[in-house]
Symmetry: C3
Subunit: 348 residues, 3 copies
C-alpha cells in the first residue's frame, strides 16, 4: 500500500494541512527526507522541526505555525506511534510449521501458527492462531500460548506457563524457571521444589534476557498490558498489576505485589513480601525495602519519599562542607565559652 | 504412588495427629484444599493456619494446638520442602538421545543420559549417567558433566567446563565465556586470551541467565552446594566457597574469593581481587570494595559494618533537617557572640 | 609449533636473558611449572616472582634482577597478552557449513565461513569470510556480518543488524531487540514500533547475555574497538564512541551518547538523553543523571565529581557521630546562652 499525508491523516482520524505527499517511511526530525514522516512531541525540539526536511510532521495545533506540511494531533507521540505501525515491516521471514522443528505429537497447534526451525514444543502444550515461535524457542510441556503472540529466538517457557493474547517475549526471555528457594538442612541447603507456575496476561511485552520465576506453590502473575524491559528479574510468586512499566535491570524479590500503573525505573530493587500500591513510581537505582502506599513516589536506598530524597541527595555532596561547619561551630563555641569565662572571672 | 498423612509422616520420620487423609498435592495455607498438604513455619501466619482447609499441615509442636490434622516437625519448612519433592513432577517429557541432536562421535555419553533435540555436544565432551540436557543446550569440546545434572534450555557450557554431580543450570546460563581482560596497546585495547576454565562442584544450582566467566589462566571455581540465583555475573578467576547463597543480579568482579556460607543479597557488587570471609553476609545493593573479615555483616556503598550502615542510612533522610540545625546553630552562635561583645563593651 | 623462550622473545620483538627453554603454555606466577611462561606486571607480586618455578617470566627491565630466566618488556602485561595468543587454542571444533543448520536460500555466505548445527540464517543476510556462528545462533533477515567474527552459542541478531570485522559476541548476546518505547493511549500503553537498527563497528567484543536494543528510528551504534562485558543493557538509539570499556551489569538508557575511551565501571547506570564526554570514567554503581564533560571522573548516585564523592562517602559512615556533635552543640550553645543571660542579669 502507498501512504500519503491525506490517507495517513484519515486513517488516524486527524486533519492535515499543506501538501499531500507520498510517504514511504518515518524518521527523526533531523534525518527525515521529503518522503518521510516525522513528529514533534516536545517543545525542546521546535528548532529541529523548523529546519526539518520531512514530508509531513505530526504535531499539536499550537505548533502548526512552524511548518507548512503537517498533521495536527492532540497527542503527537501517540499518533506517530500509530503511524509508524503502517510502515513497520514485521520481523520474521518464514510462515507455517518448519520441518526442522520438534513438535510433540501431543501438542496442539492451531491454524496460522508459525514455528521456526529448531523450536521445541513439548507434550500437552497448545499454541493459538497467529502466534510465531522464532528459532530456538523452547515450549515446555503443558504450556498454553494465546493467539498473536511473538516468541523471539531462544525464549524458554518452562512447563505449565500460560500466556494470554498478544504477548511479546523478546530474545532470551526465560519464563517459569525455578524460584530461588532453599531450606537450611543439617549439613547443606536443600532445594524447595518449585511447583507453581507463571501466568502472563494479554498484551504484556517482556524485554530481552528478562527472567520470570515460577511460583513455589501457586502462581507468579504479570497483569495485562504491563511492559517489562530487558534484563529484569522477577522472583517467585510476584504479582504485577496491569499497565505497569518495569524498566531494565530491575529486580523484584519473591512474593512482592505491585498494583496498577506502577513505574519502576532502571536498576531499582524491590525487597520480598512487600506491596507497592497503584500508581506508585520508584526512582532509578532505588532500593524499596518496605511497602509503599498508592500514589507515592519514592527514591533512594533505602527508598524514601521522592522529594525528601532529592533534598537529602543534594546535601550528600555537601557533607564535607557541613563537616567543616560543624568543626568550626565547635571551635567557635569553645572560644566563646572561654571568652565568656574569662570575662566572667575578670568581672568577678 | 498415593500419599496419605501417615505415609508422609513415616517417610519424613515424623509423627502426625488427627485424621489420616489422602494427599494429592501441596499448597499455601490460604489456597490448600482438603486433599493438599501445607505448612506453618512462621508465627506471622498463625491466623491463616487456623483458617486453612488443608488436609494436613506440617508445623512445630508448639503450634499443634491450632489444628486437628497436622504433622509435627522440629523444622517445618525443611520437612515441607522434602514433602513437596514427593509430589513434584519433574520437568521434561523426553527420554534417551534425540536423533535431532548433534553428538560428536568423539563425545562420551553414559547410559541413562537424556539429550533433547537441538542439543550440541562437542568432541571430547563427556556426560555422566542420569543427566538431562534440554533443547538448545551447547556443550563445548572437552566439557565434563557429572551424573544427575540438569541443563535446562539454551544453557551454554564453553570448552573445558567441568560440572560435578547433581548440578542444576537453569535456562540461558552461560558457563565458561571469556573473562573481561584487555591490555592497553598503543592504539587500541588488545584482548588477553582467556585460557583458563570453570569448575562447578557438586550440588550447585545456577539461576536463569547467570553468567560465569572462565579464568584468564587457571580456574574459576564454584564450591559444592552453593546456590546462585538468576542474572548473577561471576568474573574470571572468582572462587566461591561451599554453601554460599548468591541472590539475583549480584556481580562479583574478577579474582575475588568468597569463603563458606557467604550470603550476598540481591544486586550487590563485589570489587575485584578481594576476599569475603566465611559466614559473611552482604546487604542488598551493597558495594563491597575491600576485603571483609569472616563472620561480618556489611551493607551500603561503599560497604561498611551493617549496624553502622543502618544508623547512617536512617540519618540520610534527615540531612535537610541537620542542615537547618547547623545553619541555626551558626546564626545563634553569631548572635550570642555579638550580644556578648555588646555586653562586654558596655561593661568596659 | 614448538615455542621456546628465544623464539617467543623474537616474535614479540623483545630480548631475553637466561636459559632458552621449551614452553608449552602460560600460567600465573604461583602455578606455573618449568615449561610455562608467566609475567610480572605489578610490583605487588615481586615476592611471587622470586619464588616462581616458571620457565620464563615476562617482566620490565627494572625487575630483571629478580629472576635468571626472563623476557624483558617495556609493557609486560601487553606482551604477555600477545604471548598467550600463541598458546591459546581457539574454541570451536567444527569447520564448514553444517547440514543441520537452516540457511535461507536468499542468504549469502562467503567462503571459509563456519556454521554450526541449529544455526538459523534468514533471507537477505550475509556472512563474510572467516566468521564462525556457533550452535543456536539466530541471524535475522537482512543482517550483515563482517569477516572474522565469532558469534558464540545462542546469540540473536535481529533483522537488519550490521556487524563490522572481528566482532566477538559471547553466548546469549541479543542485538537488535526492540527498544522500550510506548505511548500512553487512552486505556493502555501503545507500542511504538522500533524500526531502526544496530550497527556494531570493527573489533568490538560483547559479553555473555548482554542486550543491545535497535533504535526506534535511525541507529544504535557501538564504536570500533569498544569492549562490553557480560549482562550490560544498552537502550535504543545509544551511541558509544570508540575504545570504550563497559563493565558488567551496566545499563545505558535510550539516546545517550558516550565519547571515546569512556570507562563505565560495573553496575553503573546512565540516564537517557545525556552525553558523557571523551575519556570520562564513571565509578562502580554510580547513577549518572546529567551530562558529563570530557575527561571528568564521576561517582555516586546521583553521580558527582569523583574526588568530591570520595570525601562525602567517607563521611556517610560518620553521620551518627556528626548527629551527636550537632546535638551537643545545640545543648552547649543553649547552656552558654543561659549562663550569659544569668551573668548579664547579675551584672545589671
Amino acid at each position: 500500500m502507498t501512504w500519503t499525508t491525506s490517507r495517513l491523516a484519515a486513517e488516524l482520524g486527524l486533519e492535515y494541512k499543506g501538501r499531500d505527499r507520498e510517504l514511504s517511511g518515518c524518521n527523526t526530525l533531523e534525518k527525515a527526507v521529503s518522503t518521510e514522516l516525522s513528529f514533534l512531541a516536545n517543545s525542546k525540539y521546535i528548532r529541529l522541526a523548523s529546519q526539518t526536511r520531512a514530508g509531513a510532521v505530526i504535531l499539536s495545533p499550537e505548533h502548526a505555525h512552524l511548518l507548512a506540511d503537517c498533521i495536527l494531533s492532540p497527542n503527537p507521540y501517540l499518533d506517530f506511534a500509530r503511524a509508524v505501525q503502517f510502515f513497520a515491516k514485521e520481523q520474521g521471514a518464514l510462515k507455517g510449521l518448519s520441518e526442522l522443528a520438534f513438535i510433540h505429537p501431543e501438542a496442539r497447534i492451531e491454524a496460522d501458527v508459525t514455528i521456526y526451525p529448531f523450536v521445541f514444543v513439548g507434550p500437552g502444550a497448545s499454541i493459538a492462531s497467529g502466534t510465531i515461535c522464532f528459532s530456538g524457542v523452547y515450549v515446555g510441556e503443558d504450556c498454553r500460548i494465546g493467539p498473536n503472540c511473538r516468541l523471539y529466538p531462544q525464549v524458554s517457557l518452562m512447563a505449565g506457563t500460560i500466556l494470554g493474547r498478544g504477548v511479546i517475549l523478546h530474545p532470551g526471555v526465560v519464563v517459569g524457571s525455578d524460584g530461588f528457594g532453599f531450606a537450611q538442612g543439617d549439613a547443606c541447603l536443600e532445594k524447595v521444589p518449585q511447583i507453581g507456575r507463571v501466568i502472563i496476561e494479554d498484551e504484556v511485552e517482556v524485554g530481552a534476557n528478562t527472567t520470570i520465576d515460577r511460583a513455589a506453590l501457586d502462581e507468579t502473575l504479570i497483569g495485562a498490558g504491563t511492559k517489562i524491559d530487558n534484563q529484569v528479574q522477577i522472583g517467585h510468586n510476584v504479582q504485577l498489576g496491569e499497565q505497569c512499566i518495569i524498566v531494565s535491570q530491575v529486580g523484584i524479590s519473591g512474593s512482592s505485589k505491585l498494583g496498577r500503573n506502577v513505574v519502576l525505573a532502571g536498576q531499582c530493587g524491590v525487597a520480598g513480601h512487600i506491596t507497592i500500591g497503584d500508581n506508585c513510581r520508584v526512582g532509578g537505582k532505588a532500593g524499596v525495602s518496605k511497602s509503599v502506599k498508592p500514589g507515592t513516589d519514592v527514591s533512594g536506598n533505602p527508598a524514601i519519599e521522592h522529594k525528601k530524597y532529592l533534598r537529602s541527595a543534594s546535601l550528600f555532596g555537601k557533607l564535607p562542607e557541613l563537616y567543616q561547619r560543624i568543626k568550626k561551630l565547635e571551635s567557635s563555641l569553645e572560644r566563646l565559652r572561654e571568652e565568656q569565662e574569662a570575662r566572667g572571672e575578670s568581672n568577678d
